[in-house]
């Protein structure tokens, strides 16, 4: 998902009528939008499904076109997971209200009557663009939130790596704060765990040492051992006196 807050909206105009394409392109470009055009539905679908399609914010779609008409194009867009979220504004003649209703039932966002009115065009594009941007933001939030959820799974599995949420933590919004706090807490938990492990290791060494000391004491403090030590001392004395 492209960060769309700063770039101008990208509109795809789909109309077999060259005058309509020219008019809409000119009107939209003068409002600061980037405009692409397609002469029919098939060409539009090719463009939407290609790399360029990822940046299209709104499709302005004529109904009556040769080859693939507006209904078929609308249906194909709505059935394609990758592009079905793009708002579609139908271009219609004023006497085509039945067609408009059918298209809206099929998932079109809005309609634009012909002949075009500049203020209406601007209002409808602006409204659809706002809802598209909001949706883009929601998708982006879900993706970023997914990173934090993955990180929680890593913490649970003991494989957490702080770098996995670094990009989310750099955001200056609520998700960024959540990721930073989460990372910090996960880091603290891990540090505490490491400290505990270290303490356990040290304790184990102490226990081993105590155990060895006790074993040594168990051996050295028996009567038999004392007898042996006395005998050894006697032997040493005999040897030293040369007797």
């Amino acid at each position: 998902v492209t960060s769309g807050a700063t770039r101008p909206g990208h509109i795809l105009v789909v109309d077999d009528n060259p005058v309509n394409r020219m008019l809409l392109t000119r009107a939209l470009e003068s409002q600061g939008y980037a405009v692409g055009t397609a002469n029919d539905g098939e060409q539009a679908l090719d463009m939407l499904r290609s790399g360029d399609g990822a940046t299209v914010d709104i499709v302005l779609l004529d109904i009556l076109m040769p080859e693939m008409d507006g209904y078929e194009t609308l249906r194909a867009i709505k059935q394609d997971d990758r592009i079905q979220h793009i708002p579609i504004i139908m271009i219609t003649a004023v006497d085509e209200m039945d067609s408009v209703i059918r298209c809206i039932e099929m998932g079109a966002t809005d309609y634009l009557p012909k002949p075009f009115n500049n203020a209406l065009l601007q209002a409808r594009i602006s409204a659809s663009l706002s809802s598209k941007r909001l949706r883009d933001l929601e998708i982006e939030y879900l993706i970023q939130f997914g990173h934090v959820i993955d990180a929680a799974g890593q913490v649970e599995a003991g494989t957490f790596d702080l770098s996995s949420i670094e990009s989310v933590a750099r955001r200056d919004d609520a998700i960024g704060r959540l990721a930073r706090v989460f990372g910090q807490m996960a880091h603290e938990v891990r540090s505490r765990e490491e400290r505990l492990k270290q303490q356990v290791r040290e304790l184990r060494i102490e226990i081993d040492e105590a155990r060895q000391t006790r074993k040594v004491a168990e051996i050295t403090e028996t009567d038999y051992f004392r007898q042996l030590r006395d005998q050894a001392a006697d032997l040493r004395r005999i040897i030293e006196s040369g007797e």
């Binding site: 077999d16 009528n17 060259p18 005058v19 309509n20 020219m22 008019l23 000119r26 009107a27 003068s30 009556l64 076109m65 040769p66 003649a93 006497d95 012909k114 002949p115 075009f116 500049n118």
Partner: protein
């Protein structure tokens, strides 16, 4: 001499405003005239092979353009042709096509005159 009533000056003024500048407006007039020639040829072939849906589509496109340029009478004739295409009753559409051609000639003459004015 062109019939002054063929084009509604208000609608044409709105289109001129929408197009932004006169050079672009003149270009649109050229594209409309060229595109209409293509639509008329489409009518001929579609009527000859009794392809009602193609007649309907071409009529719809020409109607749309005619409305853009304020050619109300031409738009009405195209709406009639579009309805015939929709009802699949294009058997005797030749006469209607003749009226469309005649009306377009008037519209074309007016638009060409206007384009000349723009370029002066």
């Amino acid at each position: 001499m062109a019939d002054a009533r063929a084009i509604d000056p208000k609608a044409l003024a709105a289109l001129r405003e929408l197009s932004g500048d006169d050079e672009f407006f003149a270009e649109m007039i050229d594209v409309f005239i060229e595109d209409t020639a293509g639509q008329l040829a489409t009518f001929d072939s579609a009527i000859a092979r009794q392809d009602a849906s193609e007649v309907r589509r071409a009529a719809h496109s020409l109607k749309s353009n005619s409305m853009n340029f304020g050619a109300s009478a031409l738009a009405l004739l195209c709406a009639e042709m579009e309805a015939r295409g929709r009802d699949e009753s294009i058997g005797i559409a030749g006469e209607l096509l003749g009226r469309i051609r005649a009306e377009f000639e008037v519209v074309r003459a007016e638009l060409l005159a206007m384009r000349e004015d723009i370029r002066l």
